[in-house]
């Protein structure tokens, strides 16, 4: 199995259905090591225990938004190099700008398709 497909991925979304959908799409792309968190606090706790190679996060979550999670990840010595892709319904210019300035690697707008997901993952890992 390609090394890329062995990446340990963390998906963060407060909608469990969306976690399930993204997980299934990642499985279809060949990824197997997929973990889920329903909020930013849980995500950070899991990151403290496991070494993730990618974070896919929603934005619109409470109490910690995806943007806040991104900022905490980028501020943390252990996590700051982990690729972080935002998958969100937030599509205004100021959202994209804020995420980019906070250090996001890429930005997917919901609803999205599998082709887009693969393209954004490829932008982080290279073609697979």
């Amino acid at each position: 199995m390609s090394k890329i497909l062995q990446t340990k991925i963390l998906i963060v979304d407060d909608y469990k259905t969306m976690l399930r959908i993204i997980s299934n799409l990642l499985h279809q792309l060949g990824f197997e090591d997929i973990h889920e968190a329903t909020d930013g606090g849980m995500a950070l706790e899991m990151m403290g225990r496991m070494d993730f190679g990618l974070i896919l996060s929603d934005w619109n979550m409470e109490p910690m938004s995806g943007l806040e999670l991104l900022k905490k990840v980028r501020a943390h010595d252990k996590f700051k190099h982990i690729p972080f892709i935002m998958i969100t319904a937030e599509s205004k210019t100021e959202n994209v700008v804020a995420a980019k300035q906070a250090g996001v690697n890429n930005y997917i707008v919901k609803p999205f398709n599998a082709v887009t997901l693969k393209a954004k993952l490829s932008s982080v890992f290279g073609e697979f």
Partner: protein, 192 residues
Amino acid sequence: MKNQDDFLEVQDNGADKTLARIVEHLMDEMKDLKEFIQVARQEIQAVQGDVAGTASVQEELEAVIQASADATNAILDAVELMQTTIDTLPQSYRNAFQQPTTKIFEACTFQDITGQRIQKVMRVLGGVEGKVEKILEVFSKNVGGAERGNFGKCNATHDSIPVVVTNDTDLMNGPQLEKPSQDHIDDLFSKV
């Protein structure tokens, strides 16, 4: 009128009365708006068979979100079951099923968007209702026959006017009606 002061007094009284009429008209419009919101609530409750009107609009809309989530999860259960069978088939058969199952997963993302849109509508409606109540409260305290000198001061102080604070929360606007394409987002992203 004997002199300029008399003229000014007439003009002044006229302006006060005009202003009073305008304010009274505004109050009537606000009361109509409040009643409209209440009637709309009752109609929504009636559609859902909530004859007693005990369920709030918020509860009704949350029920819609939950129902669509349940339906989506049922679809995912079925597709995941299919997927386990598909994974046992020869590659050529697996390839034939890959695209349709992917399409089903993609289509299921509607539920997240639907839920966010409904929550956005609920927030807006709640905000409108709150504003109408506040305006009615302010007007009813301050307008009681706007006689000369009795129009009085507006009790809405700066403290009661919400201050817009720009922070991360202000960026949470939810799905847009006219959603920009992924290509537009990619273009914007590359320029930042």
